[in-house]
């Protein structure tokens, strides 16, 4: 049984300077109330690991607008001109990672791999400064694990012990980041009694989840 905490209580757990993995793809599937609570709490110097920074006024875009973020590790920032402007002004550090490599690096952090070998990024700026490894005569980039202090997971439904379900394209990075952080906070749309979610429908087992955000209304 998890405790259900308010977005503000959850934001209070996350200190300035923390590394946070945040789910969502162009704000679809992001933990919206939690993000707004971080903004309201005036959080600073966060390192955000996420697919993208959405756009101004949406999802992670709120954190960028509030200048809560010192560093972003993402595959795409192109639809948020504020991220680009802060990057050019040197106010925010941006590490761009191919999307497939990003999700595998987070997964590696979550499942205890020391790294993965990939062809993606070879011959491009992504390869700069990285170790290469040869396997069966083919060269691969060694990509290292990523983990966070916190994973902020958006989901469709949770049960009382934190088993999570996701919907359609709102899965995206959420089930992966839920494995790769010291503390996992999930924001479900609805919370249902234990047993309502069939074992086969669970995408993130409750044992991975530390806190649930309480119901919205």
């Amino acid at each position: 049984m998890k405790d259900a905490i308010s977005p503000a209580e959850a934001a209070a757990l996350i200190p300035d300077g923390a590394t946070v993995l945040i789910g969502g793809f162009m704000a679809v599937g992001s933990p919206h109330r939690l993000i707004e609570a971080l903004v309201a709490a005036g959080r600073r110097d966060l390192t955000v690991i996420a697919n993208d920074t959405a756009m101004p006024g949406k999802g992670i875009g709120h954190l960028i607008s509030a200048r809560a973020v010192r560093k972003v590790i993402a595959s795409h920032i192109g639809l948020n001109p504020e991220t680009q402007a802060q990057m050019i002004a040197g106010e925010i550090e941006v590490e761009l990672v191919p999307q497939g490599t990003l999700v595998e690096r987070i997964r590696a952090g979550g499942v205890g791999l020391g790294g993965v070998l990939t062809a993606t990024g070879l011959g491009t700026p992504v390869a700069e400064g990285k170790q290469t490894v040869e396997v069966d005569g083919k060269t691969y980039l060694l990509e290292t694990p990523l983990r966070g202090d916190f994973a902020l997971v958006g989901c469709h439904q949770a049960d009382y012990i934190g088993n999570l379900e996701y919907s359609l394209t709102a899965h995206n990075f959420n089930p992966i980041i839920a494995m790769a952080a010291d503390e996992v906070i999930a924001e479900p749309r609805t919370i249902v009694p234990v047993g309502v979610i069939s074992p086969d429908a669970v995408k993130t087992p409750g044992v991975l989840v530390d806190h649930l955000i309480e119901r919205a209304l």
Binding site: D52, V103, A119, L168, T169, N172
Partner: protein, 217 residues
């Protein structure tokens, strides 16, 4: 006929029945409109759906169901929702039959540059590097030249997207196939001479005795 429509119509002819296809944002996404009625295809959106459908009925949009550009979509019967690890597992594992992407430059070796212009445009590579490295067939759909500046060049001056040779370049003027020997001019558009294609191309073209006519259906 509009330049972009011409390109999209020609690319549509490359789509194999029952294949899994990923269309990039912009021009490539138009390809879906010109598929022959009897060709059944599954479209993948890298944010996590196999079986991407058309726009949803007004008032029935689901915030959890969008394409990789964040626009509302539907899902066809038999669709599957997948997380980002599975989505890029399909792309990088060779399960994606074809991807259609835009291009900034393609060079004599068939290398594509399509994700950044240093100092100008640094949106992030999103899934582009994974798609080019991993898809079974990579088709570049782009206008032949950018305001008079050739985009098919001896060697890319922009950072590469991948070291993999793309399989086909389709422009409003021509269809060009990168091979080990170089860029082979396969088809010219109606009313376009070989010399006109050459004039718009700074890379050397290998021209067979009689290049075909660029089909549109």
């Amino acid at each position: 006929m509009d330049v972009k429509e011409r390109i999209a119509r020609r690319v549509a002819l490359e789509v194999e029945p029952d294949s899994l296809v990923n269309l990039g944002i912009g021009l490539p996404s138009m390809v879906a409109n010109y598929l022959p009625k009897d060709v059944h295809v599954f479209f993948q959106a890298e944010n996590g759906v196999i079986g991407l459908g058309a726009r949803p009925p007004e008032g029935m949009e689901d915030p959890d169901l969008t394409d990789a550009g964040g626009g509302f979509v539907t899902a066809v019967p038999g669709a599957a929702s997948i997380d980002s690890a599975m989505s890029f597992g399909l792309i990088r594992g060779g399960h994606l039959d074809m991807t259609v992407l835009g291009g900034l430059q393609v060079d004599q070796k068939g290398h594509l540059a399509n994700w950044m212009v240093p100092g100008k445009m640094v949106p992030g590579m999103g899934g582009a590097m994974d798609l080019v490295a991993g898809a079974k067939k990579v088709v570049v759909a782009m206008v032949h030249a950018a305001k008079g500046t050739p985009k098919i060049v001896p060697e890319c001056t922009l950072p590469l997207t991948a070291l993999r040779r793309v399989d086909l370049i389709v422009t409003e003027l021509a269809v060009i196939m990168p091979t080990e020997e170089g860029l082979v001019l396969r088809e010219t558009a109606e009313g376009v001479s070989v010399d006109e294609v050459r004039a718009a191309t700074s890379a050397e073209l290998l021209v067979p005795a009689a290049p075909g006519l660029m089909r549109l259906a």
